[in-house]
């Protein structure tokens, strides 16, 4: 443990408020990180309950439990809650906790803005989730909000638009803060090419956020004026074009996909070397691959709209650009595998989730390649194959990395080791059930079952039932995750500063739990080994 770490600035400690005021007014990156993570976990369960309703209705053909309108609300809200409420805030929570610790900074660069970024979220989601109780129901036109369908939303419509604006402000403020922190607050000696990969992937994510979220804000603003102020952006009768919304939306939407997954790459790049007890293979190629993926994400958006009737040149360009992403992604996957090669591996819970991430995310990547090929997509578009693809990428990709990261850094956050047996049980139950849940959806899609539909032809019945059973088990398994976290927060074996035998990096030089203020004095440059080691 370094001298620098234990030397706090007592001046700040004295003024730290208590009770609810502490949380409402805090400027501390660890407090704010914790709030982000707890909020995201709550949203994960709200969005998860919606998924349970969807799988319950799809358990058998026919309409059993909910009416089609409510079913459509569930698919729409499930996506919005999981993307904007669960995964994105979770990443910002990880960044808040870890970026200052990893780069040896005393806090985030703009601490008051940081508090604002977080506190927007519960209020934005009050606006969004409140629509469930409004006349006309919650938005049911899909999270992509395509006009003209979305314009049929009832009283919920302006609440949906303003909620998106509000969440967007939170994301932009958070991204600006992370950029200012990384570029201005690094400890002396922490050069850019020494940054842990999680920090690198987050900077790239932050640039994606700043460039793409304002475009979403513009798109939904046009929806608002089309609905209430008589404009015709998306109305062909006035010279506009409904397909134009899809272009603007996906110009945001595709970078958004990488916003959800790039920090996951950073987490895998932290965990795999630790438990393989080897330095990360190909550090600089990992940085360049992440940057290439981010660049390409801005020129592939129309692969979400191959079937809308684009000119042939458009179809070809977006196909080639899309499959090109497989190259830097492949670099990453090979590097993770090469890191494990001849490593002295152990399989604690974070490592299990990280390895499952590499394998299952790659399955999602392959199905993405299939969808990226235009003529093939004509067959798969809007089927369950697409649903299977993006759930492999987002659940066994982003969410698995979040779970892996949680187990990995939980001892640093709480000061206690989590229950390893419980963690392993959580892993095996989740990993078996998630494949039972999503793998059959590939078959359903290839056989032609459309997505976003509450009822289906009887030939799809068997695999839907299998998928629903997987879904219920997967949902229930996540209660073990919460139990594990609560247990770890309340007590358990004391964690050392380094926690893991193979762990390297500045965050492992401070005590566990990390003190309220760390690196008020910058750490000694000689302790900085950097991401390459």
């Amino acid at each position: 443990m370094s001298q620098a770490a234990t030397h706090h600035d007592t001046h700040h400690e004295a003024h730290h408020a208590t009770g609810i005021t502490r949380w409402l007014t805090t400027t501390n990156h660890k407090d704010i990180g914790t709030m982000y993570l707890v909020f995201s976990l709550i949203m994960f369960f709200i969005g998860g309950s919606m998924a349970m309703i969807i799988r319950l209705e799809l358990f058998q053909p026919g309409l059993q439990f909910v009416n089609p309108q409510f079913f459509n609300s569930m698919t729409t809200m499930h996506a919005l809650v999981m993307i904007f409420g669960a995964v994105m805030p979770a990443w910002t929570g990880f960044a808040n906790w870890l970026v200052p610790l990893m780069i040896g900074a005393p806090d985030m660069a703009l601490p008051r803005l940081n508090n604002w970024s977080f506190w927007i979220l519960p209020f934005a989601f009050t606006l969004l989730l409140g629509t469930l109780f409004m006349p006309g129901g919650a938005p049911a036109g899909g999270w992509t909000m395509y006009p003209p369908l979305v314009l049929q939303t009832g009283e919920a419509f302006p609440f949906l638009i303003f909620a998106v604006h509000f969440m967007g402000a939170s994301s932009i403020a958070g991204a600006i803060n992370i950029i200012a922190t990384v570029f201005n607050m690094r400890a002396p000696g922490m050069t850019l090419m020494k940054l842990p990969l999680f920090v690198w992937t987050w900077i790239i994510t932050a640039f994606l956020l700043i460039a793409s979220i304002p475009v979403l804000a513009g798109a939904v603003t046009m929806l608002l004026t089309d609905k209430f102020f008589g404009t015709s952006f998306f109305n062909a009768a006035g010279g506009g074009d409904p397909v134009m919304f899809q272009h603007i939306f996906w110009f945001f939407g595709h970078p958004e996909v990488y916003i959800l997954i790039l920090p996951a790459f950073g987490i895998a790049s932290a965990i795999i070397p630790t438990f393989a007890r080897k330095p990360l293979f190909g550090y600089s190629s990992m940085v360049y691959a992440a940057a290439s993926i981010a660049f390409l994400s801005f020129i592939v958006w129309a692969h979400h709209m191959f079937t809308v009737g684009m000119p042939l040149a458009g179809e070809l360009f977006f196909m080639y650009a899309t499959v090109l992403i497989a190259v830097p992604t492949g670099v990453k996957v090979f590097n993770w595998v090469a890191t494990m090669w001849q490593g002295s591996m152990t399989f604690e819970t974070p490592m299990l989730f990280a390895i499952a991430f590499v394998v299952l995310f790659t399955i999602g990547g392959f199905s993405g390649l299939m969808l990226g090929v235009t003529p093939v997509d004509f067959q798969y578009h809007d089927t369950y194959f697409v649903v299977a693809h993006f759930h492999y990428v987002l659940v066994t990709g982003a969410v698995y990395a979040l779970i892996a990261g949680t187990y990995f850094w939980l001892p640093k956050w709480t000061g206690h080791m989590y229950d390893e047996k419980l963690g392993k049980l959580h892993f095996w139950l989740s990993t078996i059930s998630v494949n039972v849940l999503f793998f059959p959806q590939h078959f359903l899609g290839l056989a032609g079952m459309p997505r976003r539909i509450p009822d289906y032809a009887v030939q799809f019945a068997d695999w839907n039932m299998v998928s629903s059973i997987g879904g219920f088990v997967f949902g229930a398994s996540q209660l073990l995750f919460v139990w594990g976290i609560v247990k770890c927060a309340r007590g358990g074996e004391k964690a050392t500063a380094q926690v893991w035998e193979g762990a390297h990096g500045l965050e492992w030089t401070v005590p566990s739990p990390a003190p309220y203020h760390t690196f008020s004095e910058p750490p000694d440059a000689s302790t900085i080994e950097g991401g390459m080691r």
């Binding site: 700040h12 003024h15 730290h16 005021t21 502490r22 409402l24 007014t25 805090t26 400027t27 900074a105 806090d107 660069a109 601490p111 008051r112 604002w116 506190w119 209020f123 606006l127 009283e155 419509f157 302006p158 609440f159 303003f162 604006h165 509000f166 932009i172 600006i176 803060n177 950029i179 200012a180 570029f183 201005n184 002396p188 700043i210 460039a211 304002p214 475009v215 804000a217 513009g218 798109a219 603003t221 046009m222 004026t225 102020f229 008589g230 404009t231 015709s232 952006f233 062909a236 009768a237 006035g238 010279g239 506009g240 074009d241 134009m244 272009h247 603007i248 110009f251 000119p311 910058p522």
Partner: protein, 291 residues
């Protein structure tokens, strides 16, 4: 890192962010009620707005007191600079969405509606009499819209406004020279001129909107041209208004003796913002009014 002093200033807890959130939440809630025709909408919206104004005074007041109290050195300054720079970049991307809509409809979708490319069937089966044109006054469907008689010509008020904004960009730079040379009167005069030019721009823009609505029949409801015209110039006008208010705050602070030749981030942030609205206007003048 440029450590002017070893300790980065981390402010103590602050109540402003949560109060800002609550005010904006009330504004959004009131705005949504208003759009849904609930009687309580305007009051709620107004209450939220009032709250936000109070919060902005409080929040910026704290920052100004800290700045004048010497809490910020070069290290903190760099964070603020990066924050402002990337905030402006996010604004650029917001405008990009609307410019994108303008280019897409002008180059692609309006042409497709009259049968360009492989879209002969679209033309044939939807509105066979429609002819592509820009500015698009005669719409595919002739009912349900306010058909404009004409558009605002580039070489009238918009050209004057271009000159005004370009001049104001020069006056704010001239004021900056005054600040760096520690000439207070020079600084105040430069800023006052800039504020006056900004306000005059907003006045002329309001006159132009009035003319468009009453004489030309060009409204938000005049099809894709009206939509892109008013949203682009409207958001720009809103940004000029905000920029003018920001300049006025800086002018007021200059008169109270704030800022030093080597330490005046707030001035520079506002100046950057002002140049940004200037550049956006050049884009508007060329692509919305002129060509």
């Amino acid at each position: 890192m440029a450590n002017a002093h070893a300790h980065y200033y981390v402010p103590e807890s602050s109540r402003w962010p949560i109060l800002a959130t609550i005010s904006i939440f009330v504004m959004f809630y009131g705005g949504a009620l208003l759009l849904n025709h609930h009687a309580s909408g305007p009051m709620t919206l107004g209450a939220g707005f009032l709250g936000l104004v109070i919060v902005l005074f409080g929040w910026f007041g704290d920052v100004i007191r800290e700045s004048e109290g010497g809490r910020y050195g070069n290290w903190e300054d760099v964070s603020f600079r990066m924050g402002m720079m990337w905030f402006i970049f996010s604004e650029v991307m917001f405008f990009a969405a609307f410019f994108g809509a303008l280019f897409y409809s002008r180059v692609l979708s309006v042409e497709w509606l009259s049968g360009a490319g492989a879209k002969a069937a679209t033309h044939q089966f939807l509105w066979p009499q429609f002819l592509a044109d820009w500015p698009l006054l005669k719409l595919p469907q002739d009912y349900g819209f306010q058909i404009a008689k004409d558009v605002v010509p580039a070489w009238g008020v918009p050209a004057v406004n271009t000159a005004i904004l370009l001049t104001s960009g020069a006056t704010v730079t001239w004021a900056h020279w005054g600040l760096k040379a520690n000439k207070r009167g020079h600084l105040i005069l430069g800023l006052a001129l800039t504020v006056a030019l900004g306000a005059f721009f907003v006045y002329l823009q309001a006159e132009e909107y009035h003319h468009a609505y009453t004489d030309l029949g060009l409204t938000l409801n005049s099809g894709i041209y009206g939509a892109t015209f008013f949203l682009l110039t409207g958001f720009h006008g809103f940004h000029v208004t905000m920029g003018t208010i920001m300049l006025a705050v800086i002018l007021f602070r200059s008169m109270k003796g704030h800022f030093k030749p080597e330490h005046h981030f707030a001035f520079e942030a506002v100046a950057w913002y002002w140049h940004f609205v200037d550049v956006v206007w050049i884009g508007l003048f060329i692509f919305v009014y002129w060509i």
